[in-house]
């Protein structure tokens, strides 16, 4: 497998009145060619900041971002321009991310104009190809965003992202604003494009059902850190990390109807402030498995099985080779 994008010990800070807020703290991850890495987490976990850093839209304090081996951090805006076509983005809100005053053809053509690619005739032809590719008719080129539904607008945004033949598309909650029936159409389109074009996705989402469907690999963030990651499509079947398990249990599922509802314990409390993260493990203030060491020493991401890594002191490898938590020592609720 070829790694398209690789982040190592990435740190992104925002200045605030109360001192620097470390939104992304020593994060490392890899996106493989033709695959989808899902980045999961609740609000304030740093997933969108990480995406912005990869896009060159947030300044990196330390660490590295490599695109096919080329270092992107520390480059000037001018130098970065060369790499921009390779990484494109699809945003959450298809109503806010398309310029309402430009025709759809012009919206899709614009990245090519910025990069001085082709003649106008060549670009127009490419626009029609792209529209066809995302399931819209050529008439769409002469129309304006307001004439399209949310799902169709997201198709337009995808066509624009594809215009420069990117290697990686950062998709920030691309289907969250869509109705269920339309969401399925857009997810299917993304999967189909990946299969045909070999593009990679960094897919940011809070929706586990969507992530489970589309991702080859997954990284779960909590308060700026990666809590767990895995290269397996089976990641969500029996997640070892207590936070990941809590996320899974908190997600409503049709399984309740099929198998009867086992009352899952509910994760109490809310995410602490990133300005003043807890000492030791950041999840220790809410974790049911917490012991003294968790409050003192920060756990590092370590490999527990073939394909999975967790940052948790309490996870061990069971007799069958699976990562497990000490169930018998559970602190009574």
């Amino acid at each position: 497998m070829t790694t398209i994008l690789s982040c190592r010990d990435l740190v992104v800070e925002y200045p605030t009145a109360d001192g620097p807020l470390r939104a992304v703290d020593r994060v490392s991850l890899d996106v493989e060619r033709g695959q989808t890495l899902a980045l999961v987490g609740e609000s304030g976990c740093g997933k969108s900041t990480l995406a912005r850093a990869i896009m060159g839209l947030a300044s990196v304090k330390s660490g590295s971002i490599k695109l096919e081996g080329e270092e992107l951090t520390g480059l000037s805006q001018r130098e970065l321009r060369k790499y921009r076509p390779a990484i494109q983005m699809v945003f959450q809100n298809p109503y806010g991310s398309l310029n309402p005053r430009l025709s759809v053809g012009r919206i899709i053509e614009e990245p090519m104009m910025v990069q001085n690619i082709g003649t106008q005739a060549e670009r127009r032809k490419r626009v029609l190809d792209l529209l066809d590719r995302v399931g819209l008719t050529s008439e769409a080129a002469g129309q304006y965003p307001h004439q399209f539904s949310g799902g169709q607008r997201q198709r337009i945004a995808i066509a624009r992202a594809l215009a420069l033949n990117p290697k990686l598309i950062v998709c920030d909650e691309p289907v969250s604003a869509l109705d269920v029936s339309v969401q399925a159409q857009v997810l299917n389109l993304l999967v189909e494009l990946q299969r045909d074009l070999g593009v990679s996705y960094l897919f940011i989402s809070h929706d586990l059902a969507v992530v489970r469907h589309i991702a080859h690999a997954t990284a779960v963030m909590y308060l700026g850190r990666i809590a767990a990651r895995s290269n397996s499509r089976d990641f969500w079947k029996s997640p070892a990390h207590p936070y990941v398990r809590a996320l899974k249990d908190a997600t409503p599922s049709m399984a309740a109807i099929r198998d009867g509802t086992p009352g899952q314990p509910i994760l109490e409390g809310e995410i602490p402030s990133a300005l003043n993260p807890p000492a030791g493990c950041r999840f220790s203030t809410r974790c049911r498995y917490v012991v003294d060491v968790c409050r003192q020493t920060e756990p590092h991401l370590r490999q527990v099985t073939d394909q999975s890594w967790v940052a948790c002191h309490r996870v061990s490898v069971g007799a069958n080779g699976a990562a497990v938590l000490p169930e018998s020592e559970l602190i009574a609720d």
Binding site: V182, L208, K237, L247, M254
Partner: protein
């Protein structure tokens, strides 16, 4: 058991000068004490307008009830006076909205807002009301309630604001709570907390809940009965388990198939079942069945005639050609 709230043939139209546009057409459902009914559907299906109409807070005169009844105990709320509605609203029938931060008044402390609700309906002193407010905030597990009662909403997280909204909704002795997408704006773990809180309130007080949601899995977990809406009409309704396990209407089937729920494992990503096309906009409905243009089982009759909601065993279905394997049982 006799339902606490029963809606019969409710219709809601919008008019902006020209031809009135039907938003909700002849919708009927009921909910019993201590039970939960889920109204599910995609954007524009009329579920939120239905919710607003139950409280009689539609944006009148642009949008108004044009027919039907809302029976609450022995009264019809459609014809009730505004004065009577003020007694019921926020007291006997209360509502929780999707965006808790926008639903609270930003220039009043959360305590003052709860006290206002309590004192509107009860002749008690400010001090007593305040003590009651703290009690309510404790019961919705707002951490540090005594201190936070003095906070303005912007100092609370979305989840905390939703707890305050629930405390307000519980301030009277609500017999019905209408929860319009109560967890959509919240994080996953906070969603579970809020749903658990609503369940707890329901168990303790026996209040009925009408849960409006686009999330079928959330409806599956919270409700005993479900009504699936499409383009202003209920197209299938009945026991949630029965309907979600074996849908009779092709739209219900399509919605369930479109959820990426058990797609897991394997290297290849299997395509999701799609419903082609888009949700129709109000006022642009086809003449026959509103779902006909997107339905995979469509027949000529569906394009000419609109199917009525008809009883099939425990459920009601608006389709000329429903899936019948389970209807036999």
């Amino acid at each position: 058991m006799r339902p606490i709230l029963e809606v019969r043939e409710l219709s809601i139209h919008a008019s902006s000068g020209g031809q009135p546009i039907p938003l909700v057409e002849k919708v009927s459902f009921s909910v019993e004490k201590g039970a939960t009914l889920a109204l599910v559907g995609e954007s524009g299906c009329g579920k939120s307008m239905t919710a607003l109409s139950l409280m009689r807070i539609l944006p009148e005169p642009a949008v108004r009830i044009v027919g039907g009844e809302i029976r609450f105990e022995d009264e019809d709320l459609v014809s009730a006076s505004e004065r009577r509605m003020e007694q019921l609203r926020g007291n006997i029938i209360s509502m929780i909205f999707q965006d808790p931060i926008a639903s609270l008044n930003p220039i009043q402390t959360v305590g003052d807002q709860i006290v206002e609700v309590i004192r509107t309906h009860n002749p008690i002193s400010r001090k007593e009301a305040r003590a009651r407010a703290i009690e309510l905030l404790r019961s919705v597990r707002l951490p540090d309630a005594e201190r936070r009662i003095n906070y303005y909403p912007h100092r609370l997280s979305g989840g905390m604001c939703q707890r305050v909204m629930i405390a307000m909704a519980m301030a009277g002795a609500p017999k019905v709570i209408i929860a319009d997408e109560p967890t959509t704006a919240l994080d996953t773990t906070v969603q579970a907390q809020v749903m658990a809180l609503l369940r707890k309130a329901q168990t303790e007080t026996g209040t009925a809940i009408i849960l409006i949601t686009h999330n079928l899995a959330a409806a599956a977990e919270a409700a005993e009965n479900v009504a699936v809406m499409y383009a202003g009409r209920i197209i299938e309704q009945g026991p949630v388990r029965e309907i979600f396990l074996s849908p009779a209407h092709p739209y219900t089937e399509g919605l369930l198939g479109a959820i990426p729920d058990n797609a897991e494992g394997g290297v290849e990503i299997a395509p999701l079942a799609e419903i082609p096309g888009n949700v129709p906009r109000p006022g642009t409905l086809p003449s026959g069945c509103a779902f006909a243009p997107r339905c995979k089982n469509v027949q000529q009759r569906c394009r000419n005639e609109r199917p009525d909601l008809t009883a099939h065993g425990n459920r009601r279905v608006a389709c000329f050609f429903p899936y019948s394997q389970m209807i036999a049982q």
